[in-house]
Symmetry: C2
Subunit: 392 residues, 2 copies
């Protein structure tokens, strides 16, 4: 298998992806976008697609946002080091755990201040992924387009969620994938993406980790790491693409398929640009602030097609890879992608099958638009399916 899957990684680059992400200097027509990128599951950067947004000039002005959102309470994500939805050691566990941020309802001006002028002991990030731009940040509606017109026409629908992201250079998002076609528009600062196509699944060393949360005590100014109860496991990539210098050799040995395989696509998206991040692509995100001290972006999640590409991905994912199995538990290494099965057609119904298992945002109680694997694992039809899976 290993020799063959390695050939797949090479071939998809040779035939279709190349070595760098395509750049368009003006918005594509819907047909061009669909034919050259969505249909091929191929990313691109589009310049000059949001030049008409008032946000581009308004938001970097440091007094505009605090004034526009002076009375808004927003859900601020706090971590000790900028790594939320990431793997960290847990004192009472032999392995790592998957930790989510402490989510603190905060007046917007105060939240922004914590991002722009960070104290040393915490990192704040506005990164709710529950359609927050159209709900929490409704006051900013007229500063951006409500959707990306050529993408909506190409995809035949409006976005299912629009999210606002405000962070600083310390916030990172670890490797993961989303079940959405993603149009990611940067308004201020820069976002740095590392991208791997879905064909490279085995290079991500996805394993199930126990879920934990940071709990932040404002009084003590300290974070506590708490395992979720009841126990819950989250499948997550074990790879840190930028390990500390001292760990580099060790990480190379642990994750050779990642470190010795084709380089991930590196993309910097600047203010005024859009990244088309195709569904199911693995992405790691970091950021550089603009002159206003923060990075601001708006992303549009469109429903993806659960078509032959997705079926192929699921098949690929079901195949064990020897070097990965050393790392993973027998239950987790060969799972099908269960994400969208409950109902591929509507976001809400993705969360309706078994609500108590749904991954919810701690503060808002709303379903989160990421990591919804927990939910569907319980669906009866997959028990049947799992039983039929054979090991090669």
């Amino acid at each position: 298998m290993e020799g063959k899957v390695e050939y797949l990684w090479e071939e998809v680059r040779e035939l279709s992806l190349g070595t760098t992400v395509d750049r368009l200097h003006s918005p594509p027509t819907p047909l061009q976008f669909l034919r050259d990128f969505v249909s091929q599951n191929k990313p691109c950067i589009i310049s000059n697609a949001i030049s008409h947004w008032p946000a581009l000039s308004l938001w970097p002005n440091s007094s505009y946002l605090p004034a526009a959102l002076s009375s808004s309470i927003v859900f601020l994500h706090l971590t000790p080091d900028g790594h939320a939805d990431a793997l960290v050691p847990h004192p009472s566990l032999p392995s790592l755990c998957f930790v989510s941020a402490h989510v603190q309802p905060t007046p917007f001006p105060q939240a922004l201040d914590l991002i722009r002028r960070p104290p040393s002991h915490l990192v704040a990030y506005l990164q709710q992924q529950n359609d927050c731009f159209r709900t929490e940040y409704g006051e900013l509606e007229s500063d951006c387009d409500g959707h990306i017109p050529w993408a909506s026409e190409a995809l035949g629908c409006l976005p299912e969620a629009v999210n606002l992201w405000i962070g600083n250079h310390r916030s990172q998002t670890s490797f993961h994938k989303d079940h959405y076609e993603n149009l990611y528009a940067v308004v201020s600062g820069e976002k740095h993406f590392l991208l791997l196509p879905p064909t490279d699944f085995h290079r991500m060393y996805i394993k199930e980790y126990p879920a934990a949360r940071y709990s932040y005590s404002q009084e003590k100014g300290e974070f506590r790491l708490e395992l979720e109860e009841p126990e819950r496991y989250v499948p997550w990539s074990s790879v840190d693409p930028c390990p500390a210098t001292g760990n580099l050799k060790q990480e190379n040995l642990k994750f050779p398929l990642y470190f010795n395989g084709p380089k991930p696509f590196e993309v910097t998206v600047k203010a005024g640009e859009i990244l088309y991040l195709p569904s199911m692509w693995f992405h790691h995100v970091s950021q550089s602030p603009g002159e206003d001290g923060c990075t601001i972006a708006v992303n549009y999640w469109y429903d993806m097609q659960f078509d032959i590409k997705y079926a192929y991905f699921n098949f690929l994912q079901s195949l064990p890879c020897r070097s990965i199995n050393d790392l993973t538990t027998p239950e987790s290494g060969c799972e099908q992608d269960l994400g969208p099965h409950a109902s591929p057609n509507h976001l809400n119904s993705r969360f309706s099958v078994n609500a108590e298992n749904c991954d919810r945002d701690a503060a808002s109680g709303r379903p989160r638009h990421r990591n919804f694997c927990g939910l569907e694992r319980t669906a009866m039809r997959y028990l049947k399916m799992m039983a039929t899976l054979e090991i090669l």
Copy 2:
């Protein structure tokens, strides 16, 4: 592997293909065609898309075509039983061989007469696949559209080849796939397709067979089966989906993945309808004549995208399947699809790398637009690749 690949067959149907082929009652917009069918590698039938073609009323008139093509010499394919590009026993071989038709340059009126009023000892079929409609049958140009406008706009190109097919009820085409997006328009009579998606590769039991040709002696009224020299091998599906009643049980035992797996999609395309047959789909074709005694169709081959779907297919194809390996030789069972690699972008260049290995039409000497695996097998880069392939 078997359990997993079987799940793939089921999943692609459950998520995307359903159990029957979609039917559109008017031509789709280019966007709809691209989004709902091409991008998803999903077939459809389109009614009322060629109602404006003069061919629909002219061609079934038994005197029109012989008059229009009264001075044309065409390449008529002759077989004893209607099975060209098919597997037949060879007296001096332990296994079957892959046989092509005898190709006889024939005045068109005489060719049509042989199709409409077949003698008992031969079956005649006009089925050149070398863009014949725009070359040999140039006189008929104004009877049809030169391309399918909404498909050309969706795919961003004009057809690479347009072919005319005139046959009777005895002619069949055995299971195979093409590296093209295919728009298949029936003008008279009906075409019956059995379709399997590319995910079902292992169900086709593809094996390499020695190439042979029928040689027809007009004097004796007899066919002779001649192995090609130099020896050449053609990878071809071993499955006959409609075996003689007496052979059914035996064929079931030999090809259980085909006979016990999901039913192929059955599609009848009537006069006036178009089938969109997606690239890489396996298809078996038979036909029923119209009142004029023959089935007439025109098909448009558009270049396909060699994208992530194609890379996934090649990966799937490289995986051995135990029950197939019993049938196949070690060299043939696990090959990558080498078809389009030489140059995915232009038809002619597909045949330019190593011309002597190119599969050519016997009569015209032109490269045929099918079965061009022989060519690329010789390309040096694949020798390297094959050497790196490992058995699971």
